[in-house]
Symmetry: C2
Subunit: 310 residues, 2 copies
C-alpha cells in the first residue's frame, strides 16, 4: 500500500448563505481519502467512528480502494460531530457545535497492512495523535505530510513543534503560517517554519490559491475563479488529498512534480466547494478532473520569449 | 507614435515602516511612462506640472523615449502633491495631504504628435478628463485602457460609466470591482463590469496577483512573493505601464499575448516596490526584467499529462 491517511471521519451540519444540511458525512479523513482515491488506487485510512456511523459510507470508501482496517468502530459511542455556519463572504465561519465523542480518546491503530506505506498523510488532529501514527509505522515513510490548524498552535504548541520535526511537508493556511512564524511576510514565514522541520511548505490562501516552497523554488497555484462557492467545508482536506494521492501515484517529489500534485489538489478542491460536503467528490469522473486541469493550464500557463523580444 | 499616456506627474511624500521621504517625484503618468518605456521605445505623455517641477525629471523622461510635448508647465503654479503613510501590513494607507494644485484645472492638450497613437492609456484621473483625451485624439485608438479608483465611483459615478463605454480595457483592484458591480464574487463582478463597456477587464489583487478576463478566458498572474514590500506607491501604475508598453510594442491583443503583457507588468511592479518612488525603475535593465520574468515562469508554469496519466 502506497498511501496511508489518518484523519477524522465525522458528521457535519453546515449552514451557508445557499442552504443548510442535516447531519451529513464529513471529516478530514473522509475528504482526504475520497480525493486521493482519484489517483492512488490503493490506500489505507486510520480513524475512529461511533456505532451511529453509516455502514454504507464505509463500504463506499472500500469500493473506492480505501482499506478501512484502521478505522475503529466504537460500540455504544458516538461519532465526532461538528456544526458551523458560514458568513456571507464564505471566508469566515462560526463553529456552532463541536462534540468530540469518539475522537476525544482516539488511540490510532496502524494495521500491519498500513505499516509499510511510502506516503503518510496526517490530517488535522492533535499533534500527539499525529506523532503516535508516525511512531507506529514499521518504517519511516518516504514522505510524511501534515495538516494542522491554529487551535493546536494555541493549546499544544510544544507538541506541534515536536511533531513538525518528523514531517517532510507541512500544509497550513496563510493566517496559520503567520501565527506560527510570527512574521507577516509569507516568504519570511516560510523560512522560519521550514527551520522547524518540514523541508517543504504549502501555504493555502483560499480563493487566492496556494504557495509551494520547495528547495529554493516557489510555485504559486491559483484557485479556480468561481461564480460562487456553495460550501467550502472540506476544501482544504480535498486539496491535501488530491495532492498526496497524485504524489503517491507518481512517486516523485521533485519541484516539477509537486507543482502537478498541487494542481491536482486544486482541481479537486474546486469541485468540492460546488455542493455540500463530499457530494461532488462522489459524482465526478477522471474526465471531469482532466477537463478542470485544462482550465488550470489556461489560467496559469503562459509562453514568453525573453531578451526584450516579443 | 504607438502609445500615449495621460496621467498625473506629481510630488509624493511617503512614509512606510521602513522609512520616510521628502517630496520625491511620483504620479501615475510618471510611473506608467517609465514602466512602458522598457518595451515601447517611443511614446507620448499628456499631463500638467507647476513651475516647481524639476527640469531634470522631464529631461530624463525624454531620454527614455517619452515625448513630453503634451506635458503643460504652468507658470507661477504648483505641481500636484500627495502625501501618505502606510500601515504595518503595507496593504492599507492613510492619505495625509492632497494638494491638487495644477491638477485641479487640468485641461489636457493632445499634441498632433500624439493624436494618431494606436494605444491609449488613461491613468487614474477624473473620468471627464479621461473622456476629453479620448475625444481629442484624431482617430479612435486600436486599444484604450483605463485605470480608475473608488474615489470616482463615490463622487462621479455617472461620468465614470460614460467614460467606461469608450474603453477596451479597465484596470481596477478587487475592492473597486466589488464596489462598481455590487457583487462579491469577482467572476460575477467581471460579468457585470464588462457589460458596462470594457471588453477586457484586469482585476488587481495586490500581493495576491491579478486576474485577466478576456473573451471567455481567465488568466491568473501571481504577484512575486517578496520578503518585504518597501514602498507600494506606484506599483499599480507600474503594472499598467508595463502591460501597455508590452502590448503596444507587440501590437497583439490575443489572450495569449495579453497574458505575456500582464506578466511584463507584474515583473516591473515587483521591482517598483523594492525602493521608494520611481527609484528602482530608473536602475533596472532589460536583463534584470528578463531574469524576473524567468522567476514568473518558474512560479506559474507547470506541465501536466492528462487522462489520468502521470
Amino acid at each position: 500500500m502506497k498511501l496511508v491517511t489518518v484523519g477524522s471521519v465525522a458528521f457535519d451540519a453546515i449552514e451557508t448563505p445557499f442552504g443548510k444540511t442535516d447531519k451529513i458525512v464529513g471529516g478530514a479523513g473522509t475528504f482526504i481519502s475520497l480525493a486521493s482515491s482519484f489517483f492512488a488506487k490503493e490506500q489505507g485510512l486510520i480513524s475512529v467512528v461511533g456505532e451511529d456511523f453509516p455502514n454504507e459510507t464505509l463500504s463506499y470508501l472500500t469500493s473506492r480502494g480505501v482499506n478501512i482496517e484502521g478505522v475503529q468502530i466504537k460500540k455504544g459511542e458516538k461519532t465526532f460531530f461538528w456544526s458551523g455556519k458560514y458568513h456571507n463572504d464564505m471566508n469566515s465561519r462560526d463553529t456552532l457545535v463541536t462534540e468530540l465523542n469518539v475522537l476525544g480518546t482516539f488511540d490510532p491503530i496502524v494495521p500491519e497492512s498500513c505499516q509499510h506505506a511510502d506516503y503518510l498523510m496526517l490530517g488535522n488532529l492533535s499533534p500527539q495523535v499525529q506523532l503516535t501514527v508516525i511512531n507506529r509505522m514499521a518504517k519511516r515513510p518516504k514522505l510524511i505530510a501534515m495538516d494542522t490548524m491554529n487551535f493546536w498552535m494555541d493549546i499544544a504548541l510544544d507538541d506541534l513543534k515536536e511533531t513538525m520535526k518528523h514531517v517532510d511537508v507541512l500544509i497550513i493556511n496563510d493566517e496559520e503560517a503567520r501565527q506560527l512564524s510570527k512574521e507577516y511576510s509569507l516568504v519570511r514565514a516560510a523560512k522560519i517554519i521550514r527551520q522547524m522541520g518540514p523541508r517543504i511548505l504549502i501555504i493555502k490562501k483560499g480563493e487566492h490559491g496556494a504557495l509551494l516552497f520547495h528547495g529554493e523554488n516557489i510555485f504559486f497555484a491559483p484557485a479556480l475563479p468561481l461564480e460562487e462557492v456553495f460550501d467550502p467545508t472540506g476544501a482544504g482536506d480535498t486539496f491535501a488529498g488530491g495532492f498526496m494521492g497524485y504524489l503517491a501515484a507518481s512517486d516523485d517529489d521533485s519541484f516539477e512534480n509537486m507543482k502537478r500534485a498541487i494542481i491536482a489538489g486544486s482541481a479537486l478542491a474546486s469541485f468540492c466547494v460546488e455542493k455540500f460536503g463530499t457530494q461532488r467528490l462522489t459524482e465526478i469522473t477522471t474526465e471531469d478532473i482532466d477537463q478542470r486541469i485544462r482550465q488550470f493550464v489556461s489560467l496559469s500557463n503562459f509562453e514568453m520569449n525573453l531578451n526584450g523580444t516579443h
